[in-house]
């Protein structure tokens, strides 16, 4: 059976080549110093930056899937997500709202935060709202860049708990994190990024 995400010799002018595979429900935890290329890898995986090499989702090569459809399945959440409207509510599609309302309390957010101006939300609230926005797309692979960097321990635990449940239901993660505890908790395999190359964790 084909892996959920199969990455072969993926490279750009700036980083790579990267080769790894990820099954449904698995989490690849990547750590490494700032500027080592972790975000570049995530951008290449979701096809936001041009790259060569091959990448396939459940056996289907990316070249055969149009880019917006690919990004709807392999969703990238940058460390600081952008917002295009004043309040979070209008960032969701109407058909997503049911799922959003069930997930809000799981992330410790009250429903009125949806109608609070984004600039008035705390950094941590924005980060959790961004996670909610990514999850509302029902991705098959979620690419997370430091998803709990701005969160207090309680909210971090809530996010990790939710991610574990979603993994159990088949969601695959590529998780960039500086937190050793988080990498150990969520990572089913671990790699280290150095000088824009991925290395096995054990070789460290």
């Amino acid at each position: 059976m084909a892996a959920r995400l199969q990455v072969d010799q993926l490279r750009s002018a700036l980083a790579g080549p990267f080769t790894f595979s990820l099954n449904a429900g698995e989490c690849l935890a990547i750590s490494g110093p700032s500027g080592s290329g972790k975000s570049l890898l995530l951008r290449m995986l979701c096809d936001l930056d041009p790259s060569s090499g091959s990448i396939a989702l459940d056996g289907a090569p990316r070249t055969g899937i149009n880019a917006p459809a690919w990004r709807g399945k392999v969703v990238y959440q940058p460390a600081e997500a952008g917002w295009w409207d004043p309040t979070p509510a209008t960032h969701f599609k109407p058909e997503q709202m049911e799922r959003v309302r069930t997930l809000l309390p799981r992330l410790g957010l009250s429903a009125d935060k949806l109608d609070t101006e984004v600039r008035l939300l705390s950094t941590g609230e924005r980060q959790r709202m961004a996670l909610l926005r990514s999850l509302a797309c029902q991705p098959q692979v979620l690419l997370l860049d430091e998803p709990t960097a701005a969160l207090d321990p309680e909210s971090t635990a809530a996010v990790e708990q939710l991610l574990q449940e979603l993994m159990a239901a088949g969601l695959s993660l590529v998780l960039v994190t500086h937190s050793e505890a988080q990498a150990q908790l969520l990572g089913t395999c671990r790699m280290r990024m150095e000088n824009r190359q991925l290395h096995d964790w054990k070789a460290a």
């Binding site: 936001l48 041009p50 917006p68 969703v75 940058p78 952008g82 917002w83 295009w84 926005r133 797309c137």
Partner: protein, 263 residues
């Protein structure tokens, strides 16, 4: 019709000297620029007067076309260079030529073939002044639209990419900014139309009245021109912004800001 002689113009030129004196007395440090700009204006206009007289006398479609192409090229260069950001390499010039060339030619052809119908329809006396005034306006709308669009793309990069990473197409991700940019391009002509006759007497109309034309005839020409300018502005801003949106993205719906440079 009054004939303006060299002496008359010399008297009017004393107003430029007056500006230069103000600049010297108040320390505005503008006298050099005022004198230089005035000298340029005189030389440029005398030259174009000679060229036009020559082209009108020739009555050759090829000569008319050559003048029109030159004017479009000069305007396109302005449009490509004026916004704070522009496309690298020749792409910016192509985009500008396509948007203002198509929009100005289309509106002028419409005027020549359906409203003014001179014989022959490409008569230089009509075609060249018309393309000149239309170009002045479409240049303005296209560069305002492009300036707004390129600055917007640079500033709102994370908001645009936020849409893309959630599966939006480039069209969906850029549409709000494209709307803003086209709107910016259309504001000057809307202001011009609302102000015409109340706050300002448009230059063309004033010139015709001074040259002895009946005010109502002058007004009719001015109304026609305003419609042409409005149509040309809308077309050029829309074309320029759509082409720019294509140019800063690729077929995989990625934002390609490396194609932009600071002018």
């Amino acid at each position: 019709m009054n004939h303006i002689g060299a002496l008359d113009l010399t008297i009017a030129a004393s107003l430029i000297l007056f500006d230069a004196i103000i600049s010297t007395v108040l320390g505005l440090r503008l006298h050099r620029q005022v004198l230089w700009a005035a000298a340029r204006m005189v030389v440029q206009l005398l030259l174009i007067g000679l060229v036009l007289r020559w082209v009108f006398a020739l009555g050759s479609p090829a000569a008319t076309l050559a003048v029109v192409v030159l004017m479009i090229a000069a305007a396109a260069r302005e449009v490509a260079a004026r916004p704070t950001h522009g496309l690298r390499g020749w792409a910016g010039l192509w985009l500008a030529s396509a948007s203002i060339g198509l929009s100005s030619i289309a509106t002028v052809l419409l005027a020549l073939l359906t409203v003014l119908h001179p014989t022959p329809w490409y008569e230089a006396r009509y075609a060249i002044p018309l393309i000149g005034i239309v170009l002045g306006n479409v240049l303005n709308s296209a560069s305002l639209g492009l300036d707004t669009f390129y600055s917007g793309v640079m500033n709102a990069r994370s908001a645009i990419e936020a849409r893309l990473v959630l599966g939006a197409t480039r069209q969906e991700a850029l549409m709000p900014l494209m709307r803003d940019s086209i709107r910016k391009g259309l504001i000057p002509i809307i202001n011009q139309m609302s102000a015409a006759g109340i706050i300002t007497l448009p230059g063309i109309m004033t010139g015709q009245i001074l040259a002895g034309m009946d005010p109502m005839d002058a007004v009719r020409y001015q109304i026609l021109l305003m419609f042409l300018l409005a149509g040309g502005s809308g077309m050029s801003a829309t074309l320029a912004v759509y082409l720019a949106a294509r140019s800063v993205t690729d077929e995989r719906h990625r934002l390609r800001l490396e194609r932009l440079q600071h002018n």
